[in-house]
């Protein structure tokens, strides 16, 4: 495979609430490569979301280093992290996080307005198969459709990485497959490095590599010799 786009070394994260210390990450090493599709598996509280947030510049590691294309994220200021998210990262969340007062098209335009080299909102919505519904408000869309708008919004700026936290968590399996298909298509057509968090073991079959988290550590790393199409996955 190509160069690693992310290199994380000995990353720890400790949350302090009052006198209680919660160790979310206890020393994680991981490399993600250009164009790779990775699935992060594990029970809730195992640290996978924390790692994703640190890689996405939403959170900071307590210790260790995270490099994105050779740049140390742990050394960036608040402002630089905002810039980093704006220019390089696309996020997809379990609860979509669309702006309810903006239509599908406008939710995507929200990002293309500030991106350096975006595709048009129409093109992004077309990629996720939602061009016909682009003037609908989020409240007028189904859960799956909302998630695909969120994906369109995430990829419209042509990010180098797409970070998805439980993208199918709130969806039934049929709708979930549509969302996975959209992610998989983008990974293949645009070559976007994609990391998907899930606690649904069935989804791991679509990934190049699977990282299983346990108690703040990566317990197992698995390379899929053969990948399944999203349509073939069931859960």
């Amino acid at each position: 495979m190509a160069e690693p786009i992310f290199t994380a070394r000995d990353v720890t994260k400790v949350y302090r609430t009052g006198e209680v210390e919660v160790w979310a990450l206890r020393g994680v090493d991981i490399d993600l490569y250009e164009g790779e599709m990775a699935v992060l598996l594990g029970p809730s509280g195992s640290g996978k979301s924390t790692l994703l947030n640190i890689m996405g510049g939403l959170d900071r590691a307590s210790d260790g280093t995270v490099h994105f294309r050779g740049r140390d994220l742990t050394a960036l200021s608040e402002r630089q992290l905002t810039r980093y998210r704006r220019d390089h990262v696309g996020f997809v969340f379990q609860f979509y996080n669309l702006i309810p007062s903006l239509t599908a098209w406008e939710n995507v335009a929200l990002v293309t307005e500030i991106a350096r080299d975006p595709m048009s909102p129409d093109e992004a919505l077309d990629l996720v198969g939602l061009a016909p519904r682009m003037s609908h408000f989020p409240a007028q869309l189904s859960g799956g459709e909302q998630q695909r708008v969120a994906i369109a919004r995430a990829i419209a700026k042509r990010p180098e990485v797409l970070l998805c936290d439980e993208p199918t968590g709130a969806l039934d399996s049929k709708t979930g497959v549509l969302v996975l298909e959209a992610l998989s298509r983008i990974n293949e057509e645009l070559g976007t490095t994609t990391a998907i968090i899930t606690h649904n073991a069935g989804i791991q079959a679509i990934a190049h590599r699977v990282f299983t988290f346990h108690d703040g550590r990566i317990a197992e790393t698995k390379v899929n010799a053969t990948r399944l199409e999203p349509a073939e996955v069931t859960w």
Binding site: D59, D87, V89, L102
Partner: protein
Amino acid sequence: MRLAVLDRKLVRDLARMWAQILAIGLVMACGVATIVIAMGSYRSLEETRSAFYERYRFASVFASVTRAPLYMHGEIARLPGVSAVALRVVRTTVLDIEGMAEPATGLAVSIPDHGEPAVNRLYLRAGRLPDADRAGEVAVTEPFAAAHGMRPGSRFGAILNGRKRTLTVTGIVLSPEYVYAIGPGDMVPDQRRFGVFFMPRSAMEGLFDMAGAFNDVALRTHRGADVDAVVDRLDTLLEPYGGTGAHDRSIQTSHAFLDNELVQLSAMAAVIPPVFLFVAAFLVNMILSRLIALEREQIGLLKALGYGEAAVAWHYAKLVLTIAAVGVLVGALAGNWAGRALTELYAEFFTFPFLIFRQSLDLYAIAAGVTAAAALAGAARALWSVVSLPAAVAMRPPAPTRYRTVFSRGTALLRVFSQLTVMALRHLVRRPLRTALTALGTGLAVALLVTALFSFDSIAFMIDTVFFRTERQDATLTFAHPRAPRALQDVARLPGVLRAEPFRAAPVLLRNAHRERRLAIVGLPPEADLARILDRDLEAVEPPERGLVVSERVAQILHLSVGDRARVELLERDHRIVEVPVTSIVQSYVGLGAYMRLDALNRLIGDGDRISGVRVSVDRAALDRLYAEIKRTPAIASIALQGISRDRFRATIEENITIMTSVYTALAVIIAFGVVYNSARIQFSERARELASLRVLGFTKTEVSSVLLIELGTVVLIAQPLGWTIGYLFSLAVVRGFESDLFTIPFVIESSTFAFASLVVLAVAALSALIVRRRINRLDLVRVLKTRE
């Protein structure tokens, strides 16, 4: 004692929302305080006044005549409805007070030689009443005595009927007739330059050649008597003696000024507290609706656990009542304090022997009740939603909000605005009522400031008009009786007099059909420069060769228009009735204005060339010599010093302007902060998730804040013209409410007043925005995204 678990939740909710609760509580406190101040002061003043009037037998009908025989007493006393009569000698005199260069004006009033006056009794503050057997003893009113440090035993000089006398103060007194004592030609009381003193009748008779005669009547009527009928009958009786028309209390100067103050207080009680309570109700509605939306699932859970609907609603009602309690407590304390301060301020302007400070418990009960009612009214809708929400529905997330497709893609707006702006604008349109009420609430803060401060614009304009365009003289000398024109030359020769202009003031009863008003027609010479008549555009106009000019107020009262023939009853001499055409309507802010050319007025009266007084402009360097000369000039009955009056009026206004501006700015800041801060907090709470999403997408803090700021800014900007309009209308109502025969306030609002009001409110809005912006900066991105709205 352990708190019930729900009450512990209440305590924690209160602690968490303290800033918002305090902001609303303060708005309520303003409502409570203004109720306590306005109603409390109204009661204090009203009850003090009626107690003083009752105990000291304040007259209800007044009249003056040139000279009438004392034996009329029986006839007047027998008029139906009359209970007591005092026939007095009253004269204005020039006083010569040691250590004071300018002459003061004294009003000499006779009292019976023995026993108390039948009406208008005196309250003796110190010393004793003057003894009829000792020459030159007088009792003086307290403010004048205080201004000159007079005590029983002090002496001062007075020019009485042309001779200088030394008078000895035996007592310091207060009279219900002179609670508010204002000198001739003055616009605010000047205790130094105007005083009332009382002398035994026999002494007055001797000094003023009034043996067996009187020139002033004051009488009391029985309760329920027809005062108008008494006035009419008294007029008929006095007509042959140069009666200038009897009148009731309504135009008795002291009473009228007190009335005016009471009107102001009741207007304040009627307008200001409702503004605050309305805003408070709206704010309660806003924060409670939001709290209940946030706690929807908890409400469902409580109901599922078996709490009754009433118990859950009561839990939230208690929150509202706690806010009201904060408001009532702070407001009651502030109101009590400010009420006392205001009552003390009254003591400066109005002299009562005692001050009944009425802030009885029921007043606080009313204020508390009204405030709690307003708070609960504001909470009603939100509380109802708590009651009517079925538990099972409450546990599910609410139906998604529907946005309107206003500003939809392809419209011109979208090309102009960024998506962030579109977000902000759609959110505004989504809750039009709340947006409108927020704008209205903010606008009310602007309006309050405009209404409070415009009066200074109007008064400044009035000073400018009155003192610099119409009454431009430095002093007005008034003779005891109308005199021949030769007196003008005498005055013109006085030291320092630069210009002297005669005038005649003739008391008349002006009638148009069944409407009538007692006033003085002022006769002015042609080409007058000191006293000028201003037309409605405030341009100086000449008095007409023939015919009458009346002020707008007079025209309005008597329904006169140009070309009408007004019936003029000449009260001074023979009560002849003549018809005079109205030739134009002019502007006049003080008193009831009616003007003629001096020669025309003299022809009308028919007693030859006569003048009542002279207006002079003076070389300031020669003032002292002029004053000294005036004190020696017997013919001059009174002197009004417009120059000093002007300065004093300015000083009084400037003192008030600072107090008023700070008080009302504080009130406006409280309203504006209450509205803007709460609305910003609620917007933030409703949209925290959206804003966090924007931050995740890579928008900077500034960009994210701009969404809220655009929304807030739009509402605050809409509020400005709204506030100006409401303020304009409020001010207009104030001007209309103040119109009286004593004065008319011109309606003037300078643009600087609008600007000041807006600047205060914009500054408060900016501060609120900054506070909320700090919260945006501290948004916890990860946590917000993990939770479902």
